[in-house]
């Protein structure tokens, strides 16, 4: 079915097409690093603080740094409005986000320290956890934290019987399966993998491959954003 190159999705995309994606780094004056991402109608901002001394101190570890994450949604990010109190879903995404980013960071270089990554979803449109991870990787780089590789994240899934890339909110809700995946392209490593729905082993394999392809494309957008920032900075410093 996916061979049908004529077929278009509700939002006009081909089966293997990403939503429009825009990433900007260095958007928050206070944070040590930050990034803003728009992916379809998703709007997410991520701020990074650290490496910095851990408070409270008893949580610090003598031989390694700690990565702390928070995934949080603004009350107005969904319709209907959501309560500001963190949900069980927020707790789980907070956890997988940490696991998705940790493999990219040389935590052992920061004993007794913490790196705090805060993702705030301003508008949600399906795939917020992937977009948050993608933006967080850029924010970490923007903070000057050396990374083993950028982490790019993207989902694939099944909607009306077809394998598709980067599900939007509608496809996520009414589709048959959703598989969010995070990938470090240069290391060939998967750092996030979840799946919800029903897929045959063969479909699953296609989803994983498609999501990895999506991550590669996103990786280019991430690099572009960092380059832009770097050049802008050089210009400013040149003044």
């Amino acid at each position: 079915m996916s061979s049908n190159e004529e077929w278009r999705r509700v939002d006009g995309r081909r089966w293997d097409e990403l939503r429009e994606i825009r990433i900007e780094s260095g958007v928050l004056p206070n944070a040590d690093g930050s990034a803003y991402i728009e992916m379809g109608r998703n709007k997410i901002i991520v701020g990074v603080y650290g490496p910095r001394e851990m408070h409270p101190k008893h949580l610090a570890r003598p031989h390694t740094g700690i990565l702390r994450c928070r995934y949080h949604m603004a009350p107005f990010s969904t319709e209907p409005r959501r309560s500001p109190a963190p949900s069980r879903r927020d707790m789980e995404i907070t956890m997988v986000m940490r696991y998705a980013l940790e493999p990219a960071i040389f935590l052992e270089r920061y004993p007794r320290s913490t790196i705090d990554v805060y993702a705030e979803v301003l508008q949600a449109d399906g795939g917020t956890r992937c977009a948050s991870i993608t933006a967080a990787a850029v924010a970490l780089a923007d903070a000057g934290i050396p990374l083993k590789d950028l982490v790019a994240a993207c989902s694939a899934g099944k909607y009306e019987g077809r394998i598709v890339l980067d599900l939007n909110d509608h496809e996520d809700k009414y589709g048959e399966a959703d598989l969010p995946l995070a990938y470090m392209p240069n290391l060939g490593s998967i750092t996030l993998l979840q799946m919800d729905g029903l897929l045959s082993p063969e479909e699953l394999d296609r989803c994983i491959n498609l999501a990895i392809e999506g991550c590669r494309k996103i990786y280019e957008v991430q690099r572009e954003a960092l380059k832009r920032k770097y050049e802008a900075k050089k210009e400013v410093e040149g003044n």
């Binding site: 928050l28 004056p29 206070n30 944070a31 040590d32 930050s34 109608r41 709007k43 901002i45 991520v46 701020g47 603080y49 910095r52 928070r70 949080h72 603004a74 009350p75 107005f76 990010s77 969904t78 319709e79 209907p80 409005r81 500001p84 109190a85 705090d116 805060y118 705030e120 301003l122 508008q123 449109d125």
Partner: protein, 269 residues
């Protein structure tokens, strides 16, 4: 390079700020009664019924509006409800921890709320859907993304701009139940309050403090005014006292600055 982005301001810096202000100057070159650059955007959250983003210098606040329905408050059974909520999220400043709202964000929400409500920004008496049972509920959610001082003025501005941009879903009663009619209309705005916050530093009054100036300030006074020049909310906050003369002076500065700030939303919609 990242100094002065919130967090602890050194004692030396605090002293320099106070001395400069005592002699009529500010470290960033502004005059005592100058605001930083103010920018207002609306419609930034397309899915919300209304929204805005306000920048005052590096301070950045988003406001989102949702119009829903619910039971009225017990003591105002025929009136609609407006609820302000404010979150200063941890990416806004190195000093903010994740957690339930603290004193500062509770005060922020309540001062903005009082300004909107006292100014009669909407006509609460026209918000009934089922008499004494169901009324329109306006949720105003303030979200501080970067805290570089003067959150109250930025938040009031964001709330008012977002409300002015709001397209209200019209609810109707079908078989005794409240359901969306599918129709929408602009929310009718009756007033445009703005708040002006003054800080007393080194004995002088300044407007629009940065975070560093807030660290150095002795006390703070917020005055919210409507477009007719009426005062619709006051909040003194901070550990030191003010003389009646200082209060009078602050009110008069606020009255003179309010139109300038209001022009950012009247113009910006």
């Amino acid at each position: 390079m990242k100094s002065g982005k919130g967090g602890f301001t050194s004692r030396l810096k605090l002293k320099r700020i106070q001395e400069a202000i005592s002699s009529g100057k500010r470290l960033d070159g502004r005059g005592l009664e100058d605001y930083r650059d103010i920018r207002v955007k609306t419609g930034v959250i397309e899915k919300a019924d209304g929204s805005s983003e306000v920048f005052i210098g590096d301070t950045r606040v988003i406001a989102g509006i949702e119009i829903s329905h619910g039971p009225p408050f017990e003591d105002t059974p025929g009136e609609g409800i407006l609820i302000c909520n404010a979150e200063i999220v941890p990416l806004a400043s190195p000093d903010i921890e994740p957690g339930p709202p603290d004193e500062v964000s509770v005060e922020l929400a309540r001062v903005v709320d009082r300004g909107l409500r006292s100014a009669g920004i909407v006509d609460f008496s026209k918000m009934e859907i089922i008499p004494k049972k169901t009324v329109y509920v306006i949720n105003v959610d303030l979200f501080v993304l970067n805290h570089a001082g003067n959150l109250i003025d930025a938040s009031t501005l964001a709330a008012v701009a977002a409300l002015r941009s709001t397209i209200k879903p019209i609810f109707e009663v079908r078989n005794g139940e409240v359901v969306p009619s599918g129709r929408k209309e602009p929310l009718e705005i009756k007033s445009t309050p703005v708040s002006v916050t003054l800080s007393k530093i080194g004995g002088a009054l300044i407007v629009d403090p940065t975070s560093e100036e807030e660290d150095a300030m002795e006390t703070r006074l917020t005055i919210t005014l409507d477009e007719k020049g009426n005062v619709c909310a006051i909040q003194k906050s901070g550990p030191e006292a003010l003389t009646p003369e200082e209060v009078r002076k602050a009110i008069s500065i606020a009255a003179s600055k309010a139109p300038e700030i209001r022009s950012k939303i009247i113009g910006g919609t």
